[in-house]
Structures are given as structure tokens and as C-alpha cells.
Symmetry: C2
Subunit: 628 residues, 2 copies
């Protein structure tokens, strides 16, 4: 290979071409061409999520990693890991559907945002007298004087201060608008000048590791005017939080790349929403971003290295208000971006927002609820809180922890796993007559998503296909011989699928689900044990005692979650699946200063339990690995 060579990489079936230096991997080439490949392990070569097939041309030799992942037949067929292969000539590669970060089902709507707007932001329409030789006041003095004469809310005798972004164009703006402007201010600070009578908007975003949900809200009426969702573009740099942190640490300016990618997607979505309702981005005068601690740090441009190293502490846990311009968020540059408080390295502001929106703490403190309540949000990390009244003190306490449930429910590390996109199997029913499947969009199946694999495992248990350790009973009529001598279940024969390949459930798949469900269940049990509460107290409650938030939590089949032991055995009416409560909480904080203060109170109230440091966790985890 000559140093300095450039090769053309032709990416099919997408049809993109890009010329890259020989030192650029296929994964990076695809990224540069705007084709986002899944990269679960962050380019370490230890998963097959970025697999591609060489159609034409010459690549570097197979690496040890590729020999470990692909069978000789697959290698012969041209399969490669895009993160391991570099062009030695012009090449054409084929990207299988499952390697693309495809558009997919996202939940952006939950329950309504019931809150009375009480934003600190005010606006006033002013008509100023232009300067004359007799009245040579500076533009800021003129505006500040008029504010003090006209605004209902007199801040003080002090002149108003101005966001520097307002100063940067105040003179041109005032003259362009012929000295009539809407002034948007927060306390004594003027943050943007708009045309007379412009609507004031706010932006709320829930930044998930996998998914983004964003909302455009009318700050005066509280109405959500538009909303949208999209995959988190950082997925191409690693599927879970730890692989992203690892990317940030191992690449020059890696952290900034992750920040920039996130912001440019947020900005694109914001621009789309503005276009939908005919608004200008400068009308967005406030924003609230929630996410887990790593997403919070990457969004706020904070360091993340320490989040990936024991003892995993955040740079910042207090709430922050960051000028939008400072983090590259394209809203009124003088606007603040509010980041609600984090709890710990793996319990972030999104969990605070969920607790806020679900009202569990308020209901306990006001006496509306007199029994303990579990509230959790399932993701690659599952944040769990237990809200209960302490017998000794009589006070309401909140214990929280984070369970490392892993990305199995996002379809990762599952033989035929995929995210909840069209063609994903989301429901499975097995009986002696056979297997019935339901897919998203009723398409021919191409893989299985989190709720589907959950169902499948529960049904395999009900039909005696699995033993309590999670092994497939090889004697069972529906179990066939799989790889390495282990049993596997054929869910969909090749003839029935969208891509012409079989879809199976393997012993390894079941094991991944065991790890995930055991982590969640052990977390629940640690909190109950810490509080001296048993699952019976949850079961005998006279109302909802188990709240499941988040998109995945909404789609799971509760009886299956109970059957596999992920959740304790409670009557179904004790459960509530409340959807994207974090997004609701974010919008509440956007609209209301009181809600922001209350979120601060919640964060202060939470007692964080570090599972890695908890004496009983390992035993509870080992117990929870088994099936009943």
C-alpha cells in the first residue's frame, strides 16, 4: 500500500460513493459518505454489527477479530467487519439491512403535559423613538430605558443587561424592525429581540442513548406544537454508553465529535419542527435537555473519561443553565439551555424528569399513596427508584440505582436481534400447534426486537422448551440441533422471512436475556431489601405500585416480563406503563420554574445505591439469573 493513495469506495445498495485515503477504514468511509453503520462495540472488532460484504476490489487481509467472528464460509463469501477492513484498491461493498441504522419506531408521545406555565421568561412589545441629534442615547440605553417605563415587571432600578448575542446585532435589528420590537427577557437580562408579536417557543429534548425525542412548545399556552424523533446519531460510534465513552477517549477530539454529531441532529430536527409550524429558530427562547449522565455530559460538552473509569463519577451533578450558543444549539443564541440535575454516573436527569412527571414522590408525600412504589425506565442502563415511607422517621424516602441491563432489549448481542423497526418480531406465541409471530408493520420478519425476544423466552418456558438454567431441552420436539451442539428454536423458516434467512433463538440469546433480566430484578430486590420492604407490600397495594416508563417499557408484554422473572409477580393491575415520562418531565420543566425547583428537590431527596458496591447484589443477581 502506498502512503497517500486515494481509493473510491462504492457503497451498495445505498449507492453512495466516496474517495478516501488508504488509511481510512470502511466504517469511517461509510460515515464520511453519510451512510451510518451500526457499530455496537465502537469499532473494536468484537461484534458483527458493522458487517459488510466485498463485491469488487481488494481490501486488507482478514484480522484475527474477523476470523473469530465469521465462519470460513462467510469469509469466503466476502463478509468483513467494516471497522477492520481498509481498501487496497477501488472497492464496491454491500451493506446488509441489519448493519444500517435504519429509521424505526420511536415513542415521542406520552401522557399530556399538565402544568401551569410559569416560565421566568417574559416578553414585551416596544415602540422606540429613534435617536436624534437631541437624543443621542446608545441603543442599549434607549431600549433599557423604555423597558423600565413600560414593562409590567419592574426588575430593579438597574439598567437591564443584555445577552452578548443581542448586543452583537442590536443596532441593525432595531433599525431593520423600524424601532418596534418584541423584547424577550429573563429577570433583568434581555435575551433576544424579535419582530413585534412573535410567538415565544421552547424546546424540550429527551436524549436517549439510542433515541432522541424532541418537542416544540408554546411557552405561553403550554401547548406542544410539534414533535419528532430520530435515532441518536452517536450510535455509529458505539451502541451503549461505555463504547461511546471509549470512542471519546480513544480518538483525537472524539468527545467533540460525539457532541457535534448530537447537536447537528438536534439542530436539524429543530429546524424541521420550526418549518412545520412556520417559526424562526430565534423564537425558541428556552430549552430543557434531559438524558442519562453520559448523554447529558456529551450534550453539555463536559468531560466523560471519568464516567468510564471506576468509581464512575459525573463531572457535574447540579442543575446547569448553559447559553445555547456555547453548546452549539441553534435556538436564540442568548437563550439558556437548562440541564436538570443528575444523580450519579449512571442515573441521570432523565430519571429525575421521569420521577417528576410520574408524580410518584408527590403522591407519597401528600398522602395520596400510602404504599411503596417502584418506578423504572428500561434501557441499556435501567434506572430504578423505590419510593416509600420510612417506618422510623415517617418521612418519604427515595432509593435509586442503575442496573446494567445491557443492549439486549435493543436487539444487540441477539443472534437475529434488531431494533424495533419494520419487520421486527415483537410478539411470539408458542403452543404445541406451532409458533405464531407478529411483526412491526405486519411485514415478513427480518429479525427480532426486545419485546419479541422477551415474549419468546417466556413462551419457551411455558412450553417446557427451556429448563430453569436457560438451556434448551434438546429432547423437545420444537428444539433442533444448533451450532456447537446446543439446542436452538427455529422461529421463522427461511421461506417465511423478508431476507430469505432463518430466524432462530439460540442458547446464547436466552443467556443474554437472563443477564439483562437478572440485572433489573436484582436492582429491584436490592432497593426493596435496603428499605425493608417485600414484594408482597407491592402486591397488596391498593393501586399502582409498579411504574414502567420509557418506549421499550410501553411495548413489553407484562405477563412475559413477570414469567421470566424480570419483574416481581404482582397482579397486572398494579402495573402502569406510562410511556416517555422523561419527555413529559422535560416539557414540564420547560414551562414552569416551579417544576424546575421541584426537580431539584427530587434530586436532593434521592439516596443513590451503588450496586457494584452493595454487599447483597451479587447473590441476588445470581439468584435472578435462573428461571422459576
Amino acid at each position: 500500500m502506498q502512503i497517500g493513495s486515494q481509493f473510491l469506495v462504492n457503497i451498495q445498495p445505498v449507492g453512495k460513493r466516496i474517495e478516501v485515503p488508504a488509511e481510512v477504514s470502511l466504517l469511517e468511509s461509510a460515515r464520511l459518505a453519510g451512510v451510518e453503520l451500526v457499530s455496537l462495540c465502537g469499532g473494536l472488532g468484537i461484534c458483527d454489527s458493522c458487517k459488510v460484504r466485498l463485491i469488487k476490489g481488494k481490501l486488507t487481509k482478514h484480522t484475527l477479530e474477523e476470523h473469530a467472528i465469521f465462519s470460513p464460509a462467510e469469509l469466503a463469501a466476502g463478509y468483513r467487519l467494516a471497522c477492520q477492513a481498509y481498501p487496497l484498491s477501488d472497492v464496491t461493498i454491500d451493506v446488509p439491512v441489519e448493519s444500517l441504522t435504519a429509521p424505526q419506531r420511536l415513542q415521542i408521545e406520552g401522557q399530556g403535559v399538565v402544568v401551569t406555565p410559569d416560565s421566568l421568561l417574559k416578553s414585551i412589545d416596544l415602540e422606540l423613538q429613534p435617536p436624534t441629534l437631541q437624543d443621542l442615547r446608545a441603543d442599549t440605553t434607549r431600549l433599557s430605558d423604555a423597558m423600565r417605563l413600560n414593562s409590567e415587571f419592574i426588575y430593579s432600578d438597574q439598567p437591564y443587561s443584555f445577552a452578548h448575542s443581542v448586543l452583537e446585532n442590536i443596532s441593525d435589528r432595531l433599525r431593520l424592525e423600524d424601532w418596534s420590537v418584541r423584547v424577550v427577557y429573563r429577570g433583568g437580562e434581555i435575551i433576544v429581540l424579535l419582530p413585534i408579536a412573535s410567538q415565544m417557543l421552547g424546546l424540550a429534548a429527551d436524549i436517549g442513548t439510542t433515541k432522541l425525542a424532541i418537542y416544540l412548545v408554546d411557552l405561553e399556552t403550554g401547548q406542544t406544537l410539534a414533535s419528532t424523533g430520530e435515532m441518536n446519531p452517536q450510535i455509529s460510534y458505539g451502541e451503549d454508553v461505555l463504547s461511546r465513552i471509549s470512542y471519546a477517549n480513544q480518538h483525537v477530539r472524539g468527545r467533540y465529535t460525539l457532541h457535534d454529531r448530537l447537536m447537528s441532529t438536534l439542530n436539524k430536527l429543530t429546524a424541521d419542527l420550526c418549518a412545520q409550524i412556520g417559526a424562526n429558530y430565534e423564537q425558541i427562547v428556552d430549552a430543557v435537555l434531559v438524558g442519562n449522565t453520559a448523554m447529558h455530559h456529551l450534550a453539555a460538552n463536559l468531560p466523560v473519561r471519568q464516567l468510564g473509569e471506576a468509581p464512575y463519577v459525573p463531572a457535574v451533578s447540579e442543575e446547569m443553565n448553559v447559553p445555547a450558543g456555547q453548546i452549539g444549539l441553534m435556538i436564540a443564541p442568548g437563550a439558556n439551555t437548562h440541564f436538570p440535575p443528575n444523580i450519579a454516573g449512571f442515573v441521570g436527569a432523565d430519571h429525575v424528569a421521569m420521577l417528576l412527571a410520574s408524580e410518584t414522590i408527590y403522591r407519597a408525600e401528600s398522602g395520596q399513596v400510602n404504599y411503596p412504589v417502584i418506578a423504572l425506565d428500561i434501557g441499556t442502563n435501567t434506572e430504578i427508584s423505590l419510593i416509600f415511607t420510612d417506618r422510623k422517621s415517617g418521612r418519604v424516602r427515595v432509593l435509586s440505582c442503575s442496573a446494567a441491563s445491557g443492549p439486549a432489549f435493543e436487539g444487540a448481542h441477539i443472534h437475529d436481534g434488531m431494533r424495533a423497526a419494520p419487520g421486527a418480531i415483537e410478539r411470539v406465541q408458542i403452543d404445541t400447534g406451532g409458533i405464531r409471530l407478529h411483526t412491526i408493520g405486519n411485514r415478513p420478519p427480518v429479525g427480532i426486537c426486545g419485546s419479541g425476544i422477551l415474549d419468546a423466552v417466556a413462551q419457551m418456558l411455558d412450553n417446557g422448551i427451556l429448563n430453569h438454567r436457560g438451556a434448551l431441552r434438546t429432547g423437545h420436539p420444537q428444539v433442533r440441533q444448533g451450532s456447537r451442539g446446543r439446542g436452538e428454536l427455529l422461529l421463522a423458516p427461511a421461506t417465511s422471512t423478508g431476507h430469505g434467512n432463518e430466524i432462530v433463538v439460540t442458547r446464547e440469546d436466552v443467556h443474554e436475556i437472563q443477564l439483562a433480566k437478572a440485572a433489573i430484578r436484582a436492582g429491584i430486590e436490592v432497593l426493596l431489601a435496603e428499605a425493608g420492604i417485600s414484594a408482597v407490600d407491592l402486591a397488596t397495594a391498593n393501586g399502582v405500585s409498579f411504574i414502567v416508563a420509557g418506549a421499550f417499557g410501553t411495548y413489553i408484554h407484562l405477563p412475559s416480563a413477570i414469567r421470566i422473572g424480570m419483574f416481581p409477580t404482582l397482579p397486572l393491575e398494579r402495573f402502569a406503563q406510562i410511556g416517555n415520562a422523561a419527555g413529559i418531565g422535560a416539557r414540564q420543566m420547560l414551562l414552569s420554574e416551579k417544576r424546575r425547583q421541584y426537580a431539584g428537590q427530587i434530586a436532593n431527596q434521592i439516596e443513590y445505591i451503588e450496586l457494584a458496591n452493595h454487599a447483597g447484589f451479587n447473590r441476588l443477581f445470581m439468584q435472578a439469573l435462573f428461571f422459576q
Copy 2:
């Protein structure tokens, strides 16, 4: 000319080469090559300051502007205006010395900075306990808690807030410094983390239209550790304030270009000063910038269009604190840059700083001085203040105005004018025996600077060479026939000069000086008239009643300034030439919060008189045009 052609421009005697598209003028080509040409008119083609000579190659045809400026002989010799000529082939051009913005004499030192440091910035050295599984506080919480336990000055029970730039690297910084840091804070905000025991520095800069003076100061001792001066790099975009504003208005992002050029020179000088004393730029935790209103706006990245259009109002007159990062100043990014208040479109913060440092107002108010005092700073605009005790109210009043004295004293619009660089004639003595000259650096003369032309005119008056209208008496033995039939004075014959050309004083030169001195004198007279004071009150004072600040003011020969009528006729002991008082005032404000507050008081106290709007100004100006 083909669209898209590229030509090589070879710039001599500097020896720089640059390839440029055909659409780029020679002026712009020189700039791109890093060769800064003077451009007094901002590229409008109405002055000859950017003149160059074509040595080889082909340029576009002479423009009408060039025909107006050059004689047919000069055109034949290849002289061109760099702003008007574009290459039609590879070219070689010669840049005469006078077209280069040469290094020159700058005054950066004045009287001492006598002020007791009382900065709002404090620092404390902390040794933190690193996080453990038993102590998972976020990095900011850990630091904030330690601050509250250790700092002498307890701000409040609230957690400390952090500049976002501190947050951006707090985790890495704490770990790199092994949890021992010097924390620099202002009130409840932490603005930078430094290695233990780092010295805290401040930056003061006086941003003149022509010259920059910058100082690095120890914030604890008040000592000026290093200082330097350089030409304002914006000179290449227009010599005076109005041509810069015109450049800003007529070019895409012109205002940002001027801002960026200024900042990059300030940053280079700051880096040089840091290197001199072995400091890191992050140790500079505070800054004060002063300048006239246009320089203030360009430095702070504020709009300037309205400064160039009647009625010439500033965007901002109040004092401002702008995060350094926001204006691209390379000091600790969490540091504030303090901009003291402006008075009006043409009386800026530099005048406030000068009044502060000169103590004139304080002396009047404390009764140390019981007579009126004039204080002025001569530049392309000359700011003049009159401090006096009002007879009716018994209170001290300050009247200020700005006189459009023009750039003649910088050597512009003078036939053989130049700035105060080596080879400039700075003293002239004429008697019947002949003419004696003194040049800067005792070099053979190459032109005449402001103090030289002032002397020349005064001496021409004393020797009867000029009449009271400013015309050269053509019958006088030392006067020869000049161009257009007018008399001119030969100051230096070609054989005596550094460039082999004659140096002369023309009728037009005298006229320029008449315009400049009349503007200043009329400004003084307007203020005196407004206050009901006569020059006799200044003359009979029992101390200094006429303060001349600034670099140029320091070098002028006072008897000459009186002789030509620029200053009123006062005993010489009434005058004080105090040097760069604005730079001293800036350093005082850097060191002391009390001085900042006092500067704010001064700004509020000043009554601005707009000369353009003053009934008596035109008459006084016409009177002042004549000589006595």
C-alpha cells in the same frame, strides 16, 4: 481576462510571492501575502497611501481615480494604486517604504499606576480527596464543598457556580493535577483551575485607531510585569475610524474581519508577553480593554454601521463584562473582559480611562484644584473635556466633546507625511540662515510626522513665510514656486534625504494643519463658552490647567501648538503632557473594583456636547482656521 485565472504576484522589496485569482486586487493580494499596505481611504481609490510600482507584468487599465491622483509621468513610471489594480498576468510590484505599515515609535509607558489592588478575583489552593465508591460526589460538588469549607470569603450557602469553560475540562484537570489545584473565583463563580500557587495575571489594553498598547499586570502586587506596543492591524483596512466603518459596511463579514484581525494581534502580543515572563495564558484571569467607541465596538464584536451614520450613536455606552471566549481573546476562557463605559459615538472608554488616571475630576471635587481644567487626547478624533465648578450649583461639572481633527497628525493627507517612525522629521527650526531638522533615530529624513509639520508651520509663521490665511508668501526668499502656481517650502533637498526625493511643505499641507488645529481649538472654545469660562481663567490658574494626554500629545512642541493657535495662549507651566494616561487608567481598573466604579461615576457625570449640533461651533471653527 479569463474567469478562474490564477496569477503570481511577486511583492518587492519584501520578497513575498502569492498566487491569487484575477479577481483579487493588488491591495488584497498583499494582505493575503501578509504584507500590510497602508490604506487610508479604505480602498476607495481617493488617496495615494497604497501606491505601488509595477516592475514586470500586466495589470488592468488605469482607473479614473488613478488618473486623478498620479501625474502622467508617475503613471508612465508604473505607479498604481494597489486598491485599483488587478493582475492580467504574473506581476512583480515594488512597494515604496511609505506604503508599508512600518513598525514605529509607540508610547506604552506613562506615569506609574498608583492604585491599591482590590480586584473581585480571589484564589485559593485546595487539596481534594479523590472520589471512592463510598464518596461518589460529582467533581463540581466535591470542589464546591471544599471551597465552602476552606475559602476565607464565604460567598453564600449556595453551591459555587462554574464558568462553562471550567466545566469543559474540570474532570481531566483535577485528575491531571492529582486533585490539588488553585481555584480562581469571582464572588460565587469559579472561573479557572490552575496548578497550585500559580500567579494571577491581568491584561490591560489601550486600543487606539492607530496603535495598540498592552500590559501584563500581577493582580496581587499591582506590578506591571511586561508591556508592548504594535500598530493596530486594522490600519490596512482604513486609517481612520470612518474608513474602517465603511470597510465593515461594504464587505461581507467586514466587521468580523476587523474584529478578528484585532483579536489575533492582541492574542499574539499577549502570547509574547506571557513568554517573556514564563506564564501561561490561562493565568490571565481578568482583562480591561479601552479604546474609542469604534475600537470598543469592533473589539467587543458589536455593530458599527450606526456609528458611521448620523446621528452617530453607539450600540452600547454602559460598561460591559464579556466572557473572554465570546470575543476570541486568548486568556483564561472563563475570565471576563471588562469594557468601561463609552460617552458617545466619538467619545469612548479611552477618554474615561484618561480622565480617571489624570485625577482631574477627583482633584476638583476634593477642592485640591479650584480652577477650570482642560484635558484632551489628540488623535484622528480629539476628545476634549473641561472640568470646572459650576458657579450656580457649586458642583463640579464635566463637559466633553469630540473634535474631528483628522489624521493629518498621523502624517496622512500631508504631501510628505508619515507616521512617527525612524527617519520622520519631528522637529523643524527655521531662521534666515536656513532650516534645521531633527529626525527620529537621527536618520536621513524620509518624511515628516505630526509634531514635525506642527513645528514647520509654527516656524513658517515666525519667519513670515505664511500669511494669516495660511498661504505661502511667494515673494519670500525661502518660498519657491510649487505645483499649480502655489508657493511651497523646500524642507529637505533630494540630496539630503533617505530616499533621494525632496521633502516639501505645500499650501495643501498647511491647509490640512489649519483644519486640524481649528477643529481642536473650536472644540476647546465651545466647551469654555458653554461653561462661561474664558482662557484667562485657565491662564491665571495657580497650577496645571491644560492636560495633554496620549502619545502624540507627548511629542509635540507646546510653543508651536500655541503659535499656530491650536492651544490657547497660556504660560507653559499651565501645561502638562502626561503620556498614555488611558493605558494607566485601564490598568487601574484592572486592579481595582473601586476604580471601575469610579470610572462609571465619571461616565455618568460627563455632559456630552455634540459639536455638529452646536449653534456656535461653525463660527468658532471659521475663526480658528486663521493664524494670528
